[in-house]
């Protein structure tokens, strides 16, 4: 038995209660096969149950992508796969960083569910147009883009956008509609998405990327080149306007002053390079070493920022000094406008591939965005090919040229080969796991991936066991639990020994739910780095509910259980919850030298399973867990009526 459809239960309500504040109140359904778009209602009860973002997307996946009477699931490239582009209740409000978009789909990398976020103005423009989310289904015969201008919703011919990169696509659509800046939010795919690269991302608003698990390939398979949303003219209400503004100010105060967020407030993710290098968490040359090959003092955040002419380029209502546009001052790419790399840009296009040239790295990072390639997976692919060439596992003849550590030009050539599936690029476009398994032998031993097929984030997780465990066990194929900040709120210890597997597992399991709650609100992960109590207060003021921390965590764990159930239905079980040989290896130098995650791995996973209340053998959430989460319908689906 499955939950009722959203539209059906919405129409069942006889005397519908008033719509909660902050919601637009409608979902936009887009059927590419039939070339039809229509608005669907969703009820206030569903809004409270699902919130938005990943909460809404998870249930849509569960309900609409099943096959064989709920025993199987459609593959990522099937027309019945859904591409949910959802925002949330806080989007468009004056809370910092609330233009967010959560993409939920069956991803191309793991062929399982994914949830991945981006920001900018997508969520704002969509909400002010009168919609809380877009649900895309079917497959277009010809390339199309979706255009939304309040109630004008149309699928339009995208031929003139083909082979344009994501920035060019946004410029062309802006010119075509006579709109600039945030008057038009565009999320699009570049050549990598058109060519179904398995780690293609969806990119938008010059510098924002929903990057994980090949959601751009799903968009490409559906032949949807872009979604363009004009800044809407509708109004959003709040139950308590002053309450929203007050909660927003308190969140901003936390972000400005709290030690867990202050450096993010000042420099975004730039401080990560030096800080993580001190902890053995910076990925260097495909995990072949843990010792920086360059003077890290030249990589301090102020130097990275001031090395370029730069300007703030913030998302909706945001006061963080995070996203910046920058102009390259010298060298081959002098004068080019690029997006300031995040920490993961500096690692994926920099340290992971042995590069030192900061201007080159900055340029390459934006080239990844333009091609719509996930910069993390690109780093793992590129660094792996570099190491394999150095060791003779991939020959010059196979690749077509020599690719040495730190070669930015060569890395860019590889990027083009991947995004156009040229030569060996055709195999590499399948991602590290598939490429390594096909090449096999010694090459496979150097590849960094999870057995799920997902990309680890841009760290050396051999020094960050919590993220390795989270990446391997997640229902989404990427980090799922949450950032371990303000954990005292959840009754967890504020400090643990990072190489105590038992403590790490308890922490990862203990915060499971936090990220899904954040990713359902329409807020940025970085501006959500406040106490959850503040987020609940903002949500309560916006909607008129009395939303507590307990409800937030229960909501997040419910969403995790639904996503995991979809993942199991996709045939991705506990046996695949492991790191590859290199990913789970022991560092032989640097700050994490000798710390062997492999020795504690089985115990860590066992502990995690007990703590989250899932069955270790089948991977299914246990009936009691589901009952506690008020998911009786899911318990019946997974375990049958008697249990």
């Amino acid at each position: 038995m499955s939950p009722p459809t959203l539209a059906a239960s919405a129409t069942k309500t006889k005397s519908a209660p008033a719509r909660p504040g902050a919601y637009a109140g409608r979902l936009l359904r887009v059927d590419l096969t039939r070339k039809k778009c229509w608005a669907e209602p969703w009820s206030p009860d569903e809004m409270r149950d699902l919130l938005g973002g990943v909460g809404l997307g998870a249930l849509i996946l569960y309900r609409e992508t099943a096959t064989r009477g709920g025993k199987g699931n459609v593959a990522w490239d099937h027309p019945d796969n859904r591409l949910v582009l959802a925002t949330g209740p806080l989007a468009g409000l004056p809370v910092w960083g609330t233009g967010a978009l959560t993409v939920v789909t069956i991803g191309a990398q793991t062929n399982g569910p994914t949830s991945t976020q981006a920001n900018g103005f997508f969520g704002t423009n969509l909400k002010y147009s009168g919609y809380d989310a877009i649900i895309v289904q079917g497959r277009s015969k010809d390339w199309a883009y979706l255009y939304i201008d309040d109630d004008v919703v149309e699928l339009r011919d995208a031929k003139f956008l083909l082979d344009k990169d994501t920035w060019e696509t946004q410029e062309a659509l802006g010119a075509a509609h006579g709109l600039s800046g945030h008057q038009l939010s565009v999320y699009a795919i570049g050549p990598a998405g058109e060519n179904l690269v398995r780690f293609a991302a969806i990119h938008g608003d010059y510098g924002h990327v929903a990057s994980k698990n090949g959601c751009g390939a799903v968009m490409g398979k559906k032949k949807l080149k872009a979604v363009a949303i004009v800044k809407g003219t509708q109004a959003l209400t709040a139950a308590d306007y002053r309450g929203v503004i007050q909660a927003a100010d308190d969140i901003a105060h936390d972000l400005r002053t709290d030690p867990s967020a202050k450096s993010l407030y000042e420099y975004g993710t730039l401080p990560g390079v030096v800080n993580l290098s001190k902890l053995g968490m910076l990925p260097i040359k495909n995990y072949t070493t843990n010792v920086p090959y360059d003077d890290t003092s030249t990589w301090e955040a102020p130097k990275l920022r001031e090395g370029f002419d730069h300007r703030g380029h913030q998302c909706n209502a945001c006061g963080m000094h995070h996203c910046h546009m920058q102009v390259i001052r010298g060298g081959e790419h002098k004068g080019k406008v690029v997006d300031e790399p995040e920490y993961e840009g500096w690692s994926g296009c920099g340290w992971q591939i042995g590069a030192r040239d900061k201007e080159g790295i900055s340029w390459l990072n934006t080239e990844c965005d333009r091609a719509c390639v996930d910069v993390n997976e690109f780093g793992w692919v590129c660094g792996w090919v570099m190491e394999c060439q150095e060791k003779g596992y991939i020959t010059k003849q196979q690749l077509g040229f020599e690719l040495r550590w730190g070669d930015i030009k060569g890395a860019h050539r590889l990027l083009r080969m991947i995004s156009h599936r040229e030569g060996l690029g055709d195999l590499l476009a399948e991602g590290v796991k598939i490429a390594a398994e096909r090449l096999g032998g010694r090459a496979k031993e150097c590849a960094i991936y999870t057995l799920l097929g997902a990309s680890p984030r841009g760290h050396d997780h051999r020094g960050r066991w919590d993220e390795m465990l989270d990446t391997c066990t997640a229902g989404t194929g990427t980090l799922e639990s949450g950032v371990p900040v303000h954990v005292a709120e959840l009754g967890l210890p504020t400090r643990i020994t990072p190489f105590d597997g038992e403590a790490v597992s308890r922490q990862v399991a203990g915060i499971l739910g936090r990220r899904h709650f954040e990713d359902s609100l329409g807020i940025c992960i970085f501006t959500a780095r406040t106490r959850m109590e503040n987020l609940c207060r903002a949500l309560s003021a916006a909607t008129g509910w009395y939303y507590t921390l307990d409800e937030a965590m229960r909501f997040g764990r419910r969403t995790a259980a639904i996503l995991r159930s979809v993942r199991l239905r996709c045939g991705i079980g506990p046996k695949l919850e492991r790191p590859s040989a290199r990913y789970g290896s022991t560092p032989h130098d640097g700050p994490a030298k000798g710390q062997a995650v492999s020795e504690q791995w089985e115990k860590m996973v066992d502990t995690w399973y007990v703590q989250v209340g899932y069955d270790r053998k089948t991977g299914k959430p246990l009936p009691k867990t589901l009952k506690d989460l008020r998911l009786d319908w899911l318990a019946r689906d997974l375990w049958g009526a008697k249990k």
Partner: protein, 156 residues
């Protein structure tokens, strides 16, 4: 008197001012009805908020045929809703493009400095919009001269 001062070089285009303004103007969050607007320039790398500079000439007041525009306690030109007939002459007369017409209410609307505590200045996270004392109502000339001097001297 106090006036809204706008420093475009500090603006990051987050549009928080528009959300805050629309709440003061309409009682809901609706940036489409904000009376401060942010425009992008230079390949999406810079932004400039603009709103009524409360100019000394008061072109909107001069043009209004029914005397619906007055000066409020904060010194801002303000539209009297009861008197406005929605003829839009003020929107044509305004040289700054900061008089607006609302097709829902069929009235003109503009920045009234929120009666002396502008929400945009409160909301701006980068202090690109401030509410400051200035010697004359016509502050734009001084502002332009000062900015030009700074730019020529290479100071940002």
């Amino acid at each position: 008197m106090r006036i809204l001062k706008i420093m475009p070089e500090k603006c990051t285009g987050c549009l928080r001012c528009e959300i805050a303004c629309s709440y003061m103007q309409t009682g809901t969050f609706q940036p489409a009805k904000s009376v401060i607007r942010v425009s992008p320039f230079e390949g999406h790398t810079s932004y400039a908020p603009y709103t009524c500079p409360q100019c000394a000439e008061g072109w909107c007041m001069t043009a209004c045929p029914v005397g619906a525009i007055t000066i409020n306690a904060a010194g801002a030109k303000d539209v009297l809703d009861d008197t406005c007939v929605g003829c839009k002459l003020c929107t044509i007369a305004c040289p700054y493009g900061t008089m607006f017409y609302d097709p829902d209410t069929r009235k003109a609307f503009k920045c009234n400095l929120c009666g002396g505590d502008p929400a945009c200045a409160q909301a701006c996270p980068t202090a690109a919009i401030t509410y400051d004392d200035v010697p004359t109502v016509d502050w734009l000339g001084d502002f332009a001269a000062e900015r030009t001097t700074r730019l020529l001297a290479g100071v940002r």
